[in-house]
């Protein structure tokens, strides 16, 4: 909270523009958080403080809203993300085994990010691509009917080693 956002940062300008577009309305909080997370990749504390001030919302209200929704993250999700869908169709087709193996091979549990911030492993509760189960989303790209080896190879392609 003590480190204010630099006004020259293009991301701050974007955020300010979004807040203005929403007419500083408190009920647009979730829309504004979406937009902030899009430009920052996650929601740093000083961004939340900035939003609180701009919308005249108490910090506790902002924090409670952010932590309620799975989409919002208070820490970096990693440069590359590997998101395993654990919806019912994927579950029936062995998503849990894929996740287990992936966790073992990357040394990362779901929700964790590697020490060098290169890779983050996440789970989703269903991305609605059930016809293609099991699916994994690598950097916003849906991989259909996957096997663990395929995913590991694609991750290696993306981040180099490991």
């Amino acid at each position: 909270m003590n480190n204010e956002l630099p006004a020259t940062d293009p991301r701050v300008k974007l955020l300010a523009a979004k807040i203005k577009k929403e007419n500083f309305k408190p009920d647009a909080l979730i829309e504004i958080l979406h937009s902030a997370q899009n430009s920052y990749g996650y929601l740093p504390m000083n961004v939340l403080a900035y939003i609180a001030k701009a919308l005249h919302l108490p910090p506790s209200r902002i924090y409670s809203t952010v932590t309620f929704y799975h989409f919002f993250s208070l820490k970096s999700k990693g440069e590359h993300t590997c998101l395993v869908c654990t919806g019912t169709a994927c579950y029936v087709k062995g998503a849990q085994a894929i996740l287990n193996e992936l966790e073992k091979k990357t040394g990362l549990k779901a929700g964790q990010v590697s020490a060098d911030n290169k890779l983050g492993v996440q789970v989703a509760r269903c991305i609605g691509a059930c016809g293609l189960a099991p699916v994994v989303v690598l950097d916003d790209e849906v991989q259909a009917k996957v096997t663990t080896d395929e995913i590991i190879n694609k991750i290696i392609d993306k981040i180099g080693t490991k």
Partner: protein
Amino acid sequence: MNTIDIKINERSLKVLPGITILQACRDNGIDILTMCHLKGLSDVGACRLCLVEIEGINKLLSACTTRVASNMVIRTDTEKIKRYQRITTELFFAERNHVCSVCVANGNCELQELGYKVGMDHIRYPFLFPECKVDTSHQYFVMDHNRCIMCTRCVRACSEVEGAFNWDVKNRGFQVRVISDFDTPWGESITCTSCGKCLQACPTGALWSKDVVQGQLEKHPEMITELVEKRKLLLT
């Protein structure tokens, strides 16, 4: 003034339209268990202790949020309701780490009293033993999450009566916790006015003042009710 006829536990009553079932019960000396309700604060229907059966409605409804209607037939004392009150109480105790013997509120605790009322001689569910923090950073007060039952009376007292909005709730599911500001230590809050209303609103030993010792905590939740009543004078 116009009244309407309702029936609670076979008793025919005349009550004011628009009041809640809970109000109707309390006005007529019918005991109803509550935990998240505190007169003067908004009602959220979260603790589910005040569930009642209403003829013609196949769901149990919370008395604190349901308004009376003409010819409503209500039951507050069925076997099912009593059984559910007991389960709810057990779940309260099993959820966090409640150890009455070392608690500041021992003897002055609404949760403890609830245990006696429903005749809880033991708890059938495994304790969850979550890791909970004790925030002692505030100059005068302590927040002990081990004893919090998530009734959110403190949250509502802080926002609705004091207007400070220091408290809110973070996360969801069984991981919910009461937070101050950005989950910052209470002592570093930029919104808390140190008014102490949350302490008075709290039904357990979760919020207490540093100047009391074990078993010595006295609470006055009715203070919140009175404040709200007195505020109304400004509007007349």
